[in-house]
Amino acid sequence: MLKLTEQVYDTIRRHGEETYPHECCGVLLGRSEDGVNEVEEAVRAGNARTDSAHNRYQIAPQELVKIQRLGRERGLDIVGFYHSHPDHPAQWSMTDFAEAHWLGCSYVITAVEKGAARQTNSFLLTGKSEENKSFENERMEVEALEAERCR
């Protein structure tokens, strides 16, 4: 299961709207325990695939190193990633699958239709190795903001 706050959820979706018609991407920092990836923070990343940003994304490894370092300083791990599918369903593609290598991490995809965020889904990359990995639909729990809870 993927747990994230409403604030993180909104950040991810807004990022996809801002970069439309290009794909956005970013990293989810948090903690992974007992089959739950709990996100504390979504860190925006640049899309390194400037040659085909409307249907491809890549986070530069150097940026990933820096984000991993940032997480370490805050006591957080990389527990997932997010990206958008401009004018395309919120389902993983064969490209997403081929390029997914972080076993145990959540891959969140938001469909952005004509600039507006629609469906957001999460997929857990399961398996013990690159050779037997698979994507599973992952339940997503979005926690309401504290301020709203108190109303």
Partner: protein
């Protein structure tokens, strides 16, 4: 020196996020890591013994593939290696 392990590979390092090794080159550090944690090897290297295409290794902020001396690059105790699988995709 320290080697930072990404979340998916910690299952092979007894859940450690950082492994300390004694080494004087990048190659020696990676060898020391896989000697300590042999199950890591097949996840980092192809059958031909080369780093898998999607596995990036950074010495501090430099990709070792682009260092002039690559795995023969000298390191000291203050350096850190980061193992970073790539992240990409698209619709």
């Amino acid at each position: 020196m320290k080697i930072h392990i990404p979340t998916p590979l910690r299952v092979y390092t007894d859940k450690q996020d950082t492994v300390g090794v004694e080494a004087s080159t990048v190659g020696q550090a990676l060898d020391a890591l896989t000697a300590k944690h042999p199950d890591l090897k097949k996840h980092l290297y192809s059958e031909e013994g080369k780093l898998r295409a999607f596995v990036n290794v950074y010495l501090n902020d430099e990709d070792i593939r682009y260092l002039p001396e690559k795995e023969a690059t000298k390191v000291n105790g203050n350096d850190a290696l980061s193992i970073i699988p790539s992240i990409a995709g698209g619709c």
